[in-house]
Amino acid sequence: MNQVINLKTPLTDKDVEPLRAGDRVTITGIVYTARDAAHRRLIDLVEAGKELPFKVEGQVIYYVGPSPAPPGRVIGAAGPTTSYRMDPYAPRLMELGLKGMIGKGKRSDEVKEAIKKYRAVYMAAIGGAGALMSRAIKSARIIAYEDLGPEAIRELEVENLPAIVVNDTVGNDLYIEGTEKYKKK
């Protein structure tokens, strides 16, 4: 297996462009959580020309709705949710400078096009490994939409959050290529 690449957020084109589908990465720094309900509100704000609760440029959004933090922990289980629900909103955010998305599952053609066009990256975390992923989260703070409960936007400080690159800036898709490679006729 190839080397693990350490990424530090916020990301620039320089960080994102060398990444290739299949690369294993770890992410350190700030990432923001948002699921579809929060995305819908973000896009409503963009459309109304209003300011967003965080500056999107260079940032990474982690598609996750964590379970509540038990006493003495910063967060509960925190694995990725299925990404296609964010597909209608993601291209607009990349246009505003969003550089990375972490989730699980296939993306639409529109999203893959936007990843190429706006130089971004889509990474998969292990779906269902919520307890394991929570170890990489050092702090969590709700910054918007508290009324959405698990779907509120949180600012997470992460250290070596593990992920695998799925969609890169040159149009590779690990879900398609990986499956092809192991398909038996």
Binding site: S67, A77, T81, K104, G127, G130, G178, K181
Partner: protein
Amino acid sequence: MREISTQAIIDAVKEASISANYELGEDVVRAFEEGIEKEESPVGKDILNQLIENSLIARNQRIPMCQDTGLGVIFVEIGQEVSIVGGDFRSALEEGIRQGYKDGFLRKSVCHPFTRKNTGDNTPIIIHFDIVPGDKLKIWVVPKGGGSENMSQLFMLPPSAGWPGIRQRVVQTVAQAGPNPCPPTIIGVGIGGNFEQSAILAKKALLRPLGSPNPDPELGKMEEELLTEINNTGIGPQGLGGRITSLAVHIRMMPCHIASLPVAVNINCHASRHLELVL
């Protein structure tokens, strides 16, 4: 009549909802271990190892294995000689889930279909009641995540489709789902009955522990055939390519109308949470 108090039911369901989310069944862990042996992709092997590690962290640190702690689903078999005392049965089951999700720090994942407003306590829940002979009360607590439920499908096939038609639809459902339901998955297939019964059969098929044989050897052979075909798709752990797309296929079947062939495919993720209680 044998009396069972609603308080005993509340306490048992509460505990079960928490344990089901913290403690992955031994049967699933064993299936991961066997999967590692068979997996050809290094990334796939790595993922299966991490899933075992995940289950250990959840169990030891008492946190949910997956953040999607699911919609509360309960199957009940109540002996006809049982009398529930001290309140109403349905409310007791719901109260058990409510308390478990609150005190166990489990995620509340139930909302209004249109406004998407969260109900705040993970209720209402889905309950399937069945009345059986005897004086026992059996309750299965099977919380189910959204990611895998969303990839499930139901087909009303023409009877002429037969086994080849069923096989094609099951494999197609898993192939289309790809990485979304967090493979390695467990596939519940319900054949026969009618529209709603096939879906219930498919979900009930998931209650059978992994590694236990189908009581009907003919169905057991069909399960093997489906599993081989599914694992030939190459989807693999997390859909990143590999051998182990599914850990098992479980079939339940019953007769159906002469005009129909209902087939339901209920996909369950590796975070397969099922606990059986006998009161």
